[in-house]
Amino acid sequence: MAAALPVVGSVPLVAPPGVFKGRELTRKDRRLSAALAPLDALLEGGIPRGRISEIVGRRSCGKTSLAAAFISSATCRGEVAAVIDLANAFDPATMAEAGVELSRVLWVNPGNAGESFLSPPPHSVAGEGEGSDALQVTHQLFQTPAFPNRHRSPSGAVRSFLRAAEMVLEAGGFGLLVMDCGESTFSLAQSSALRLARMAERSGTAVLLLAARPLCGTFAAMSLELTPARTIFSRARFVRPDPKSKSYLKCIRQPHPRPLPQLIAEEGTDKALFEGIEIRATIRRNKLGRCGLSARWRSMVSIAGPALHLQAPKAIRIA
């Protein structure tokens, strides 16, 4: 308000751009874009820096692909990102395909907390045994372990997970910190979430938490829920690639397995091909803007279209 501004002589003092008041350490308008048009429009430019943003959703909802888009955006700008990978699920090949500059990504795996559906239940004896194999002390001497609780239990891995995130935030200078909880079902204590939020604000790092359900509660500035709208499979006709061509070599080196010559027995016939997932995102919580808005986009195996060894796809079938 102009009336509230102090006046020196006849000229009112106006705060210059870039100066903000109060206890806020990171400005709300500093955002990290995903370089994905519908999402950037939904999030008013991207996720806020210096705040915790959550991406929640079930399996195959596209949260890892969205995180990759943010990492790609940060690393391509020259920033350094960190991924605390509780589930040990970081796949560098597909991340690189998604545009992530891997040399700018610090990967930290604090141990397996009993992620996901396929690993043993978190509190089972087998799970503990698997996690502690490397630290088994077999000799009669030196029986006192230096780290009695280290990686012996899922809760130990979660503690390391949080501690590693705090260390990264303490170091400062990281543009983005991705905390990938996988499908672990641990609960985050309010004190831990508060500490993370404060450290994020102090460091100015955008913190992105990937989880099956919201973990940070009120300490998250934004919570984005993803749901898979549909899975896209297409049918395409195969032709035999030229083994000497560059496109063939590129084809066999890509991380998504694709047909090789010995498989193309049914040359000229139609085959199904996985193309990607259509994703719907809804803002469930937003301290810095409106809630309840939605957007849609597609996470595709190949943005440019079907792989080089295919003829034009005949039709797209929705599963």
Binding site: T64, S65, G99, S103, L141, A171, M300, I303
Partner: protein
């Protein structure tokens, strides 16, 4: 008698750092709690072993070198007696050299506990000689040692000045005055010569200098002539510079074998602290560590602990050492420890006004070391795709972000991004029920769902050059080849499918052609 009238080498300034009782100083450096304590060092073990060095506190209660341990204990029952430790003394001598080398580029090793350094040209860096002395004392305190400091025009006078104790700066032109004052006992003469001179009433160098050198030589031998030459400034040659030391080693011998990790960690912490103090003096950081343990029964255990990012944080380095020891404990009790560190220069950095800020190199290295200590060195770094045809093969390298950024890509105006796979490591075996060769149902330990859509199979095979043993190991890991089936020699042969199940997930599933088993190795997410 022809005698030089003045002390030569004008403008030359030499400093001497002198630790009078190196064994005591080395012991105090390793055990700071003994600094004010009454203790003595014995030569050998047992009650009959003679005492070699005695601390000032012990000397004040009547303990003198040469007493046996039993005699000393009779005089002072609370006297702490330690065995003399040459390894500690060597480390202390090296630390003293580090102080000198951190201060001046020209350093001469004058023997154990004695170092000369050239101060010429250092005024612009440190200020006057008083400031230099203060800085040297600060650096000595940093490594936990005390030494006498003497500064003079040549080595011998600087040594005598240092022998006086404390710090003594002999101004240029006043060397003769100082030499005439020096008591004879500071020269360390043979007892017979010293007694003879005392009988003649000669107690200081000045008294000796008044005598005729030829007459003195004929009566008392070459030693006396040397003293005359010293007083006249005819001794003290140039400094013989040594190459700056690049090895940073701390050693210690234990009085009894240690068989548990906790006390070993306690000793290693002290050694690391001393090493890091030396590295900091030289402006270096600690890289890979080499730990050599002498074990009971004349056995040795040597291990190299890689440090992902050079750091001077003792806690992180100690954790890495303990992690390694915990993984593979020494097979026997530890009797002696040698810890060496590969010194690395701190990573230089130059900030750029036009690129986003990155972590400060020193803080980043410390953070990496702490993360490695927390999660294990193999769990921190940059994960890259391995040079392999296996789609799930990865390799880890140390994290070192490039300084320059690539040009930013063109903005993606489309509503499309790339899908990413969540890896499942190791691949989990599942049961797949098929109808006419087409998978219809997938069942695993925590998965049970009908196949809604499927794409594939896409075959991948390779690594046929692997030996049978390697192939067998892969098979044992659950995702490799079985050489006995399919007529293949080894390696892998997989048919990959992308399956959308009715639980909502899209999985990457493969069938191992050698074992005909099915595995899930990733989820598209």
């Amino acid at each position: 008698m022809a005698r030089a009238e003045s002390i030569p080498v004008a403008g030359c300034r030499i400093a001497c750092l002198l630790v009078k009782d190196l064994p005591l100083a080395a012991t105090v450096r390793a055990n700071p709690e003994l600094r004010q304590a009454s203790f003595a060092l014995s030569i050998g073990k047992g009650p009959r072993a003679p005492l070699g060095c005695v601390s000032a506190a012990a000397r004040s209660v009547g303990i003198v070198p040469g007493m046996t341990v039993a005699q000393a204990r009779a005089v002072a029952p609370d006297l702490a007696v330690l065995a003399r430790n040459p390894a500690l003394e060597q480390a202390a001598a090296d630390a003293l050299l580090d102080v000198a080398e951190s201060f001046s580029p020209v350093v001469e090793d004058g023997g154990p506990g004695r170092v000369y350094l050239d101060l010429a040209g250092l005024g612009g860096l440190y200020g006057g000689e008083e400031e230099m002395v203060a800085e040297l004392l600060r650096r000595l305190r940093q490594i936990g040692m005390e030494a006498g400091i003497g500064i003079a025009a040549n080595k011998d006078i600087a040594y005598l000045a240092a022998r006086c104790g404390g710090t003594r700066v002999i101004d240029a032109g006043r060397e003769r005055e100082f030499l005439h004052w020096v008591p004879l006992e500071l020269l360390g003469l043979e007892p017979e010569v010293e007694l003879q001179l005392e009988r003649l009433g000669i107690r200081r160098l000045g008294d000796l200098a008044r005598l005729d050198a030829r007459e003195l030589g004929s009566r008392m031998g070459a030693g006396a002539v040397e003293i005359i030459r010293l007083v006249s400034g005819q001794t003290g040659g140039p400094l013989i510079a040594r190459r700056p030391g690049e090895a940073f080693v701390e050693k210690t011998a234990l009085e009894y074998a240690i068989e548990r990790l906790e006390p070993l960690g306690f000793i290693l912490r002290g050694m690391l602290e001393r090493l890091v103090a030396r590295l900091k003096l030289r402006g270096l950081t600690a890289g890979d560590l080499t730990l050599s343990l002498e074990l009971a029964g004349h056995r040795r255990d040597e291990r190299r602990v890689s440090v992902a990012a050079a750091t001077n944080e003792v806690r992180s380095l100690l954790t890495l050492l303990l992690l390694d020891l915990e993984k593979a404990p020494p097979p026997d009790g530890v009797e002696a420890i040698a810890l060496s560190v590969q010194a690395r220069a701190p990573r230089p950095s130059q900030s750029d006004m036009f690129v986003p800020p990155a972590p400060a190199p020193e803080r980043l290295q410390t953070t990496l070391a702490r993360l490695a200590a927390l999660c294990g060195p193999d769990h921190v770094g940059t994960l890259l795709p391995a040079n392999s045809h296996r789609p799930d093969a990865t390799c880890r390298v140390d994290f070192a972000p490039p300084a320059k950024a690539n040009p930013p890509p063109e903005p993606n105006g489309h509503a499309v991004n790339r899908i990413v796979l969540r890896a499942i490591r190791p691949a989990q075996e599942v049961e797949v029920m098929s109808s006419r060769g087409v998978p219809e149902f997938v069942r695993g330990r925590r998965i049970s769902a009908r196949v809604v859509s499927i794409a594939g199979p896409w075959r991948r095979q390779g690594e046929w050059w692997k030996t049978a043993l390697e192939a067998g190991q892969d098979a044992a890991n659950g995702a490799g080849a079985d050489v006995s089936q399919g007529g293949l020699r080894g390696g892998f042969a997989h048919d990959y499918y992308e399956m959308a199940l009715d639980d909502g997930g899209v999985y990457r599933v493969f069938r191992d052609l050698h074992t005909d088993r099915w595995f899930v190795d990733g989820i598209y997410d």
